[in-house]
Structures are given as structure tokens and as C-alpha cells.
């Protein structure tokens, strides 16, 4: 009787030891799998970082791209200062944007061309570019350079070519060489005058004033739009219309 219970006790102990050994082995094995998983997870992070970094190219003063395309698209549309379109148009659309802003770049490439062709080229509305410098310190000299180009009737060419060659924000790409290359590609004829203008107190104050105006209008992002016309009661804010047709509809109701 006692011999049998001893055997059972030993058996139970052996089973317990085997279970513990099995669990320990299983844990060891799973922790090794966990280490491999950690390696894969870190590889996934590296891939995400590479994707994130690769989407910010541009900003190369020796390789200004798509200038001829921009100059061709804007050809024949009157420009006055930072205004694009009929200077006597009754409807005026103000675009508050930052030249370093990638969302503005996307808007400029995907939404504005349709509006420019349908409403600006026809003379129905005039589009006015206003600096709203929120990205960083390099936005101000870029904005001032655009205004200076506008004084020679090439403001919109400058803005659009800048967007198409935009670099990573505040990465140091907005150099004298880069701005000069954009100005030349935009067709600014008198570079010496453009240099004087863009560094003048008056132009720099204009950049600051339009940024203050955007804040006073309650805008929290770029690009943001406001418009005025016969159908509006003064300057009305639009925010960021989601599509070209939404902006066209707003122009229609303002006209």
C-alpha cells in the first residue's frame, strides 16, 4: 500500500518536473522567436523611415525642374504684383500659403490649374497670392523673393516653379543660389533689382503683414482662401475648398 503511494508520488513529481522543463524550453524557444520578431519590427521601422525620407526630394538649385511647363501654363494671363488675372476683375480670391508647405504644393499642382483655366484666364476672377509663413524661418525669404518677382510681373511664375522644386522644410535649401535659380527660371529679368527688392524692409514687412492678416481671419492651416466680389458682403473666408469645383462654385456665387 505504502509502496504504491510512493510510486504515485514519484510519478507525479516526475511529471511535474517534465512539465516545468517543457515550459522552460518552450519559453526559451518563444523568446528566441520574440527576438527574431523584434528584429523584423525594427526592420519595419527602418522601411517606414526610408519611405518618409524619400518623399522629400527637391530643393536643388542646379536642377530646377518643370519651369517651362509652368511658364507655358501661365502665358497670356496678366500679372500685377502677386495678382494673377484681370486687374479689374470684380471677384478677387486671396490664397494664403507658405512656399515651403507641401500641402500648398499639392493644391497648386492638383486644384488651382483647373480654376486658373476656367475662372482666371477668362477674366471672371483674379487670384492673389498672400504669404502665410508658418512652416519656418526659410519661409520668409522665400515669400519675400516671390513678392520681389511680382514687382517684375513674374510673381506667379516664381511661386509655381518654387512649389515644383520644393525641398524638405527648413532643411537649408532656401539659399541665395536656389532663390536666384527659381527667379531666373521664372523669367525675372532684372536680378539686381529683384535682389534689392526681396531684401527691402518694405517687402519683408509685406510678408509679415499678410501672415498677420491670415491669423486675424482665423486661418489655422495653409493653403487657406478668402474671397470678395459683388455677391459677398466684404471679404469672406473659405478655408480650404476640397476640390477645384468647390472653389469654382464659391467664385460663381461671389460673382
Amino acid at each position: 500500500m505504502s509502496g504504491r503511494s510512493d510510486r504515485e508520488a514519484r510519478r507525479e513529481e516526475r511529471l511535474r518536473e517534465e512539465e516545468q522543463t517543457g515550459t522552460a524550453e518552450r519559453r526559451q524557444k518563444l523568446i528566441k522567436v520574440g527576438s527574431a520578431t523584434a528584429f523584423l519590427a525594427l526592420a519595419a521601422v527602418a522601411v517606414l523611415i526610408v519611405i518618409s525620407q524619400s518623399q522629400t526630394s527637391g530643393g536643388d538649385s542646379n536642377n530646377i525642374q518643370r519651369a517651362s511647363e509652368v511658364n507655358r501654363d501661365l502665358q497670356g494671363i496678366p500679372q500685377n504684383g502677386m495678382g494673377l488675372g484681370n486687374p479689374n476683375a470684380k471677384t478677387i480670391v486671396l490664397e494664403f500659403a507658405d512656399l515651403q508647405c507641401p500641402v500648398c504644393k499639392g493644391y497648386s499642382e492638383e486644384v488651382l490649374p483647373q480654376v486658373i483655366e476656367s475662372r482666371v484666364r477668362s477674366g471672371e476672377a483674379r487670384l492673389e497670392f498672400r504669404n502665410y509663413t508658418i512652416i519656418g524661418s526659410e519661409s520668409k525669404p522665400a515669400g519675400a523673393a516671390a513678392i520681389a518677382a511680382g514687382k517684375q510681373g513674374r510673381g506667379w511664375n516664381f511661386v509655381e516653379i518654387f512649389y515644383r522644386n520644393q525641398g524638405s522644410e527648413d532643411s537649408g535649401y532656401v539659399t541665395e543660389e536656389f532663390l536666384t535659380a527659381i527667379a531666373k527660371a521664372a523669367g525675372v529679368r532684372d536680378i539686381a533689382k529683384w535682389n534689392r527688392d526681396r531684401k527691402s524692409e518694405r517687402v519683408l514687412a509685406e510678408v509679415a503683414a499678410s501672415t498677420s492678416q491670415a491669423e486675424e481671419l482665423g486661418f489655422t492651416g495653409t493653403p487657406s482662401f478668402a474671397l470678395k466680389g459683388p455677391g459677398t458682403s466684404g471679404l469672406e473666408t473659405l478655408g480650404t475648398p476640397g476640390s477645384a469645383s468647390a472653389l469654382e462654385a464659391a467664385i460663381s456665387s461671389a460673382s
Binding site: 520574440g34 519590427a41 523611415i49 507641401p102 480650404t240 476640397g242
Partner: protein
């Protein structure tokens, strides 16, 4: 040192992941309206970060990836077993690593801090710590 009970760790992870879903969803909603999250303490930090090219990955707001990560982590926190322990560890490691990178960008590249992004980074760090303790403490056990 004995780790906390797995139920406690799962409860903490559930709370953190739910909170994270709320924060990331707010960022996506604020961004989708063409605006930016509102910084509670004022300033333009959230706006500057939202306007940055780094706020999107392959055209998708990074907060959308954040929502997906937090939802997966919530699922792992609610499930038992080794699969959930390993998955929660791996997902939170990816989230933690990417949060570190985004915080680095805010500090040294964008030169602006968005409080909502900081909250999300802290949540992801806590989730990584919680899920690492859970994985190392309980993987391979039958509990």
C-alpha cells in the same frame, strides 16, 4: 523580479490603446478639414507639424497608421495567449521606433512640437514597456 499579473498588464494596455485611438483620431479629423490639431497651450507647433511633409507617409496621414496600430494593440490586449503576447510586443516596438523617429523630426528638422504627437509618443512608449513586460514575463506559460 516577479512581473505584475498579466491581467493588470492587459488592463493597462487596453486603457493606453483606447486613449491612443482617441488622440490619433482627433489628429486625423483635424487634418482632414484642411486645418490642424489645436495646441492646447497655444502657439503654432501643431499647425507647423501638420503642414510638414513628414506628417504624411505615401500620401496618408501618419495618424491613420497610428489608429491602425492602436486598434491592433487594443485587440492584442483583449486576447489571451502567446500569439497576442508576441504580436503586441512586435506592434508596439514598431510604434515606439516610429514615434522616436517622429519626435526626432519635430525637435531637429521641423523645429516645432505638437502636443498631440507628444501624447501619442508617450502612450506608445508606455505600451511598448507594458507589452515587453507581458511578453518576457508570460510567453510560453499556460496562463
Amino acid at each position: 523580479m516577479k512581473p505584475p499579473a498579466e491581467g493588470t498588464l492587459r488592463g493597462i494596455a487596453t486603457f493606453l490603446a483606447t486613449f491612443g485611438i482617441g488622440v490619433a483620431t482627433y489628429i486625423v479629423i483635424a487634418d482632414s478639414g484642411g486645418g490642424a490639431p489645436v495646441c492646447i497651450a497655444g502657439g503654432h507647433g501643431c499647425q507647423t507639424v501638420a503642414e510638414s511633409s513628414y506628417s504624411h507617409l505615401a500620401g496618408v496621414n501618419v495618424a491613420v497608421f497610428g489608429i491602425a496600430g492602436y486598434v491592433l494593440l487594443l485587440g492584442c490586449a483583449l486576447l489571451r495567449g502567446d500569439g497576442a503576447r508576441m504580436a503586441s510586443f512586435a506592434i508596439s516596438l514598431v510604434g515606439f521606433g516610429f514615434s522616436l523617429y517622429l519626435t526626432y523630426l519635430e525637435l531637429f528638422t521641423i523645429n516645432a512640437i505638437c502636443q498631440w504627437c507628444v501624447v501619442s509618443a508617450v502612450l506608445m512608449t508606455l505600451l511598448f514597456a507594458t507589452n515587453t513586460i507581458r511578453m518576457l514575463g508570460y510567453v510560453g506559460t499556460n496562463r
